[in-house]
Amino acid sequence: MKKIIPHLPVGDKLSVIFIMAVILAVLVTQYAVNIRKDKDVARERMTREMVIVEQRLIFELADVEYAVSVMRPTAAHMLHHPDSLQALTHRMVRFISNLQAAGIAFEPYYFPEHGKWYEPSSWRKGNMIFDEQSGGPHHDYFSMDWYREGLTADPEHGHWTHPYQDNTQDDKWVTTFSMPLFDENDSIIGVIATDVALDTLRRVLKKSEPYKGSVCRLTDLNGHVIASSDSILPDPEKCFTDSMRVGNYDLMVHLSCPKKAIYGSTILMELLTLALMSVCIALLIWIGRHSIHSISELHEARESQRELEREMEVAHNIQMGILRTDFPPGVSAHLLPMQEVGGDLYDFCERDGALWFIVGDVSGKGVPAAMMMGATVTLFRNAVRRCEAPADIVSEINTTLSDHNPNLMFVTAFVGRLDLQHGLLTYCCAGHNPPVLNGEVMNIAPDIPIGFRSDYCYRQHNCLFPKGTRLVLYTDGITEARNQEHEQMGLDRLRDIIRSQDNGTAEKTVMCVIEAVCDFCEDCDQTDDMAVMCIVNDRAPQQPALTLSNTLSEVTRAKELLRDYCDALALTDKQSREMCLALEEALVNVVNYAYPEGHSGVIRLDIIASADNGRRRLVLVISDEGTPFDPTAQPEVNVGDAVNARQAGGLGILFYKTLMDEVSYRRSDDGCNILIMTKTFAN
């Protein structure tokens, strides 16, 4: 049986799921990495931008420091002309755009002529620069941070004050840079100071906009906003903000960038990623559900396969049940299907003192072959009840199977009728392997297999089957069985095995053949079914053979039987017809004259055919219980007589006496006429 494996591409689906899952995992990772990367990139960019801002701020502030440090020696040279110091501060404010104001404050009474405070200074207001000596009780700079800290500051680097709101200058945020001022004796005589209007740094901040909508702010260390690139403060929720100190100054720069702007560049990519992920997830769900469906399908398929296997087991039992095993003496058979069911078949039946049998092989294997096998066996059983000849049985099976054979299957079969009592085998071979008769492969011209043409006329043949004759029938699964070297069992090997069993029973012969095939194949799996049948004639002939009533139609029946024997003896058509004529003439005489008209009587016919040492012999024995009549004692008819002179009878006796070698008559003790006719044929 061919194993039915349902087509379920579950493996493919699982592969697809696996691939989709991998894609999804990659996408998720990429998405996470992207977000992280975006943040990193944004932060990096912001930091870079802030560093630029910071550097610019430092540059601006350093510009001031540089200016102060350059001015300081100039101021020191001008100490002899304190009034001209005013011009110096003016120039400073004028040329250094960042400067809100510049002043040079001296220690108390340094210039006694100017009193305790002396601070020539200049400041900017709009486009104007104003100069004045601002020190005085109203502006006691000695107590101010920028002055005190300036005095003690590092002489080389000076000092920057904390940013503060200068009440003298409209509360503007300023930071003051101050450096101590030395005289020629390197004594500290005052402080040179410059105010930087921090809001002027806004232009520096405004240059920095790494992302659209960015806001850059400058604060003091406490977070007081000194300057901002935008008047609107960013919403901390919607922005990424980064901060850094500006050099060593007490200033912080903050850069806030809207998240939207940062991710804006990658948002499309992320949307695409999200869309892809969604598609993947949807697909995964869909395939997952399908897979579950497939898995349940697979489960169902396995269930149905199990069901099928159970059914096949039942089918196997049914098929084995079809095969008869109640062998009569001298008959045995064995069938080995290679799958649960197969197409080989055998069957037999005893009827009218004859053994009717069939051995066949359906084309193909498995269930279809098994069904055909069942049909063939059934048809054989039906036909064997009615048919008188093996050819008729084959024809009947053939007609039925050919007419309803859409799949063009065919059956090879050997159907035989073995008249054990008379030792005559009549057979019809429909394309089947030639059986082995007495250790020799039968030389037969087979007819076509069953199932091809419903109108095919099958022929039948006869052969003598005397006591001791052994016939082995088989299917091609036996001869075509292969071993590990791919050699075939072959007909010669089979014949040799059968020959080795010359004296064994039919059962032993069958088992020997099966064992030999199994030994030959060893563990090789065979593809074809095997069947063997053995028939041994172990019955002594019983007399009489044919019992006839005294009617003319019985003569026809007797002639048909004789023809089979003639065929079995391989007589020519002419010889066969002559034997039939002799029998007919002898029988007609008995039918017509042995019993009184209107009385029924019995006529027995025995046909003994033998073929020993190349001499074929046919003996016909006719006996009746009628009126004693010795045909051999009758005067011979004169064949020279003219038509009108000829008598009605006599010709028949003439015929059989002429055609047979020997004709003898005797009246038995129990009151029977016994006519014995013998003919021997040379080869």
């Binding site: 139609s553 002639k559 002419k574 017809r577 007609v588 064949v639 007589d641 003439l654």
Partner: protein
């Protein structure tokens, strides 16, 4: 056994086919009378399809010949195969009939 009787202007042709055995002869008795009705003309029996003949079959021929001779007709046989001819020879019938 088959018999085919064809009446022509110049005679009657009787074609026999198959086995002319005892059973066939009993079935042929009616056809014999039918042929005898026509024996005012020459009768030709075509035996080319005749495979077998028994003494009963020969008796049919004898009756045919007697009947036709009584009416002045004649019977001739054509197409006999060797086996049938052998029976005619064996029975001496070959001397009684015009065999061609």
């Amino acid at each position: 056994m088959k018999i085919d009787i064809r009446t022509q202007e110049h005679g009657v042709t009787v074609a026999l086919a198959g086995e002319f055995d005892t059973i066939a002869t009993t079935e042929m008795s009616d056809r014999l009378n039918e042929i005898l009705e026509l024996t005012d003309r020459p009768v030709t029996v075509d035996c080319s399809e005749l495979e077998y003949i028994s003494s009963s079959g020969l008796r049919f021929f004898m009756q045919l010949k007697r009947g036709s001779e009584r009416r002045g007709g004649s019977v001739s046989l054509v197409g006999l195969n060797e086996d049938v001819k052998e029976i005619f020879r064996l029975s001496g019938f070959c001397n009684l009939f015009d065999i061609q």
